[in-house]
């Protein structure tokens, strides 16, 4: 049955309207969870606030379990969903640069947009910075090209690359996340509180 638009169960003309509605929900959830505050986001790296960790991993696990169930019940064909491609070194190096940018700037693109919407001036600077970064990348593209296009391994999933059973993997991931959540609460109690 699903996905609905690629299978033409909803006509393509609706896609822009659906995009705006999905975006509104996304922005609302980000802001209401406190992701419009860079000091709350940065708490995850210093141990005084683990909201990022909790929201991010809860969302990842809920969506994974939900999609696996929907695939199992035949509502959506998981193999027809878009799988983010694996460019091994692009993912590692790009991710590492983003990590430094995250702890320096206190935002990532989605959270930064939600902060712009409520008038945070530091977030406006962050979005402008992201656009300058994209501009720099594009102008120096020949330099980055080998890492951008190289080490391509296909639209791999962990089932292909690790040979794991998806159901067991998600089960272990969930148990791991619960342990990490409990540990994060214990860490937070020992770290000096930061008020913002």
């Amino acid at each position: 049955m699903g996905p609905l638009i690629p299978n033409e169960l909803i006509s393509f003309e609706w896609s822009s309207i659906i995009a705006i509605i999905i975006g509104i929900c996304f922005g609302f959830i980000l802001e209401a969870s406190g992701f419009s505050s860079s000091r709350k986001l940065a708490g995850v790296f210093y141990g005084y606030d683990f909201a990022v960790l909790k929201v991010f991993f809860t969302a990842a696990i809920v969506s994974l379990i939900g999609l696996l169930y929907m695939d199992y019940l035949g509502y959506v064909d998981m193999s027809s969903l878009y799988v983010h491609p694996t460019y091994l070194w692009g993912a590692i190096i790009g991710g590492a640069i983003m990590g430094i940018g995250f702890v320096a700037g206190g935002f990532c693109p989605g959270t930064s947009l939600s902060a712009v919407a409520i008038g945070k001036i530091d977030a406006i600077f962050n979005v402008l910075g992201i656009m300058v970064g994209i501009f720099i990348f594009s102008e120096l593209y020949p330099l980055f090209e080998p890492i951008y296009n190289g080490y391509f391994q296909g639209n791999l999933t962990l089932i292909d690359s690790l040979g794991v059973n998806p159901y067991w993997f998600v089960f272990i991931l969930t148990v791991g996340a619960i342990v990490i959540f409990a540990a994060s609460d214990m860490i937070r109690k020992r770290v000096k509180k930061v008020f913002y």
Binding site: G2, S16, A19, I20, I22, G23, F26, G27, I29, L30, E31, A32, S33, G34, S38, R39, A42, G43, F45, F56, T58, A59, A60, I61, L64, G66, Y75, Y82, V83, T86, I93, G94, G95, G99, I100, G101, V103, A104, C108, P109, G110, S112, S114, V116, G119, K120, N126, G129, I130, M131, G133, I134, I136, F137, S138, Y141, N155, L156, L158, Y196
Partner: protein
Amino acid sequence: MKEKKQNRHVYWNPYFGGFLLGILIIVTFFITGRGLGASGAMKSSVVTIVDDVSHEHAEQSAYYSKFVNSDKSPMKNWIVFETLGVLIGAFISGALAGRIGWRVQHSPKITRRRRLIFAFSGGILFGIGAQIARGCTSGAALSGMAVLSTGGFITMLAIFGTAYLFAYFFRKNWI
């Protein structure tokens, strides 16, 4: 009675926010076959600006030319509409909770100016990294993880791992 010190704003329970976000990702995949994103719209904006300033330059560049199309503007894109929605949705949430206002949020230990410089330079790094990894925390890491993408998991580990490694050097900005 002793007054308990607490943060100025109270937000949702993180597990509740995460649960709703997970449901939203399922709905997004179910309807569109793809996940959420954020940095894509900023790329479309940069491509549009460059194309407006110099169409020739955009067509000759190996990177911009992938996204410039003579009969369709790069702004007429799913991700751009989704991002407009993000701005609206965050504004509604902020308005309901009374969090709207022009301000620079920073630790009392640093100046406003220092915060803005770091916000800007952190953005530059994030912009470059998101292009190299073909997506940011939402598009690559979160939406990738939802479909068990190997690249998504690697990007997630790289972002958080490096951020923890470098957190020590930026501690003055936050704690």
